[in-house]
Symmetry: C2
Subunit: 199 residues, 2 copies
């Protein structure tokens, strides 16, 4: 993870935030079951509106028909590198919730943001265990809902790859040059005191 050192924070955050990035070179070696469970466990403890816990994950292991099913939903570009990963997964969110003591579901405003927080927690726990994750929205989202028979009250949020990094030489040449952590906007772009001043 030497490339993580090319990331410089403007303020002293915990190192895990800087160590996490989204590589494309993955080694197909399987994850120990315990690591997989620990990574999904971190998502469990995310905050959510009314503790509704709207996050749902579908995952598949390399070499299974279900892995090929998820892989086949990705755009060709993402297939070209994601095919090596030991785990492919899809993040869903549940759009409705039956509040305690009620019988009718209500629409949850923050289902996507809450699921995103759970995904973020998962990404950090994976990083702490020495794994990498890489999320994608470059996949056929409507077809995902059809092929996985996802009911209307769930939303397909993103897909992701989970596994150990491999040497970038396994990637097509054009991708090797892009195998590096991405930079970020300064806080002036996204933190506003008192009033919103969009760019």
């Amino acid at each position: 993870m030497t490339q993580a050192n090319s990331r410089k924070a403007d303020h002293p955050v915990d190192s895990v935030f800087l160590e996490r990035w989204s590589p494309r070179a993955f080694s197909p070696e399987a994850l120990p079951e315990q690591d997989l469970r620990t990574i999904f466990e971190a998502a469990r403890w995310a905050p959510s509106a009314y503790n509704s816990q709207p996050w749902r994950f579908i995952f598949a292991r390399h070499g299974t028909p279900e892995f090929d099913k998820i892989l086949g939903l990705l755009i060709e570009f993402n297939q070209s590198w994601a095919k090596n990963a030991p785990i492919l997964a899809i993040l869903l969110s549940k759009k409705t919730f039956v509040p305690p003591g009620k019988t009718e579901p209500v629409a949850m405003h923050s289902h996507s943001a809450d699921a995103g927080a759970a995904w973020g927690f998962l990404a950090l726990q994976a990083t702490k265990l020495g794994y990498a994750v890489h999320a994608m929205t470059g996949f056929d989202i409507p077809r995902t809902a059809v092929e996985f028979e996802i009911p209307d009250d769930y939303q397909v949020e993103l897909a992701f790859v989970l596994g150990r990094r491999a040497d970038k030489s396994i990637l097509p040449e054009a991708l090797q040059a892009r195998e590096t952590p991405s930079p970020r906007n300064p806080q002036s772009v996204y933190v506003f005191e008192g009033a919103f001043k969009p760019e």
Copy 2:
């Protein structure tokens, strides 16, 4: 944070995930500027589609007109405890993005989930520094968009409180009984291998 010990993970996650919870008793003491910046800095390093970084934060400090403006947007129940906090904030997401080399914005599918990941990172960094955060969707979201002049290509995701915990005796009696970390669903509710089986 002794109550955090009442949370038991089924798999050995990093302690920060279990230490973070959403109290309502906050002390109004101001945050040092450095801590505030470090907490917002963690959000910066979240992953996002095409590194579009769609998260935006508006915050206000206790004792300012802008604090009262955010407080006035909350439902009465949330006002009853959030009024003590040193910081009130709103999370927005940008729904569109102009890809590198292009001139026209495109709709971003994961803007809410990506902003949620950034919010999750912020919550964990706050926890690491000994602060607490508590998100809310119990506020007037349409009026927030009007009062803060938020353009149509941004979405109001959630509001949150940030500060140091106070003794629960400062809360109304009914809330004192609820000042405890919430439990979670087991992985069987949210992790599915190969096929989705919603409850």
